[in-house]
Each structure stands twice: as structure tokens, then as C-alpha cells.
Symmetry: C2
Subunit: 104 residues, 2 copies
């Protein structure tokens, strides 16, 4: 069982500025986290009814287990990544961490 | 670039009944989707401040691309999985689909 950090970002006022900051600054900070096993980002599209998705962007960062994830997030690299949220995620971000079951 | 379906479930009234239905009924319906490449589920824990997480459970289903994902969701297996939501996700579920970038 791995462990996952989800960062679900609310719709920003300036999506282009958000994407630029994420690609140039925040993703590199995420990549610096020790023990990172996978790191993906998804921009959800509109729902089948054309409604805006609940979030603008969902990042998923996977680690071997809770101990590795918690060590990464509580270390200096984690602090730097969290501190950077103030620079681009003013619309809000829901951070969620937990153990992950693979069904397939 | 793969494509991902996120299903983010709000906190149910009866978490045990939710988990049982998910494991016994809904996960098998998800596993029946053609072209499924990975399928994980995460129960987020409380935040660092002890606050309840935004969602009770986050499922992530990955496909090779948008065409494969859309075909799976619009086919009979997708319809069966969506129809089953009414049986256990009354508290609400945010479904989000999009193309996924891998940073690592």
C-alpha cells in the first residue's frame, strides 16, 4: 500500500498565471520532495452537463508509505512547497493525505 | 499522457456501510471498465490541524487517453457504475475527468 498526497486547487482568477507558476516554480518544489514515487497533475474538464469541475487542477504525489510521505512533508522541502502555496493558490487548495489501496 | 477519472466522495452518514458497498459492489463495477490501467482509492486522514478532510474517499481511475476513458464511461460498464452511485453516494460525489501530466 502506497500513500498519496492530493492537492486539489480551486479555480484561480488567472488560470494562465496559475499554470505558469505551477510549471516553473511549484512543480520543481514538489519534485524535490525526498521519497517521491510518482507526481501527476490533471486539469479536469467540464462535466457531461457542461458544468465547471469542482477543482481547476488536481495534483497527486505518491510515496512508499505514510512514514515516507510524512517525513517528506515535514522536512525542509515540504515546508518550502507549502510556503509557496501562498504565491499562487489564493483561490484555495484542499490538501488530503492518506494510505492508498490499489484495486487493479 | 494518460487520462484520469477522479471520484471524490463527501463524508457519508454511515462510513462502514459506504466502505462495504464500495468494496463489494462499486469497486467490481469500476474494475469492469474496459481499458482501465490503474484504479486506486484513498481515505484521507485529518489535516495537520486535526480538521476533517474535504472528502471521505478519493478514487482515481486511469486510462491510456481521453478516447479510451470516454469510451469506457459512455459504455454499458460506465453506465452501470454511474447508476450504482445512487446506492451509496447520497452525501455527494464530485466526478472529474481530464488529461494527466506526469512530472516525475
Amino acid at each position: 500500500m502506497t500513500s498519496t498526497l492530493y492537492a486539489a486547487y480551486r479555480h484561480p482568477e488567472d488560470p494562465e498565471a496559475f499554470d505558469r507558476h505551477y510549471a516553473e516554480t511549484h512543480a520543481p518544489l514538489g519534485l524535490a520532495l525526498p521519497g517521491l514515487r510518482s507526481f501527476t497533475g490533471t486539469h479536469p474538464g467540464p462535466g457531461p452537463d457542461g458544468a465547471a469541475p469542482a477543482y481547476y487542477f488536481v495534483a497527486a504525489l505518491a510515496f512508499d508509505d505514510d512514514a515516507a510521505m510524512n517525513a517528506a512533508l515535514s522536512g525542509p522541502e515540504g515546508a518550502a512547497a507549502v510556503a509557496d502555496l501562498a504565491n499562487f493558490a489564493g483561490a484555495g487548495v484542499d490538501l488530503m493525505t492518506g494510505s492508498t489501496t490499489s484495486y487493479l
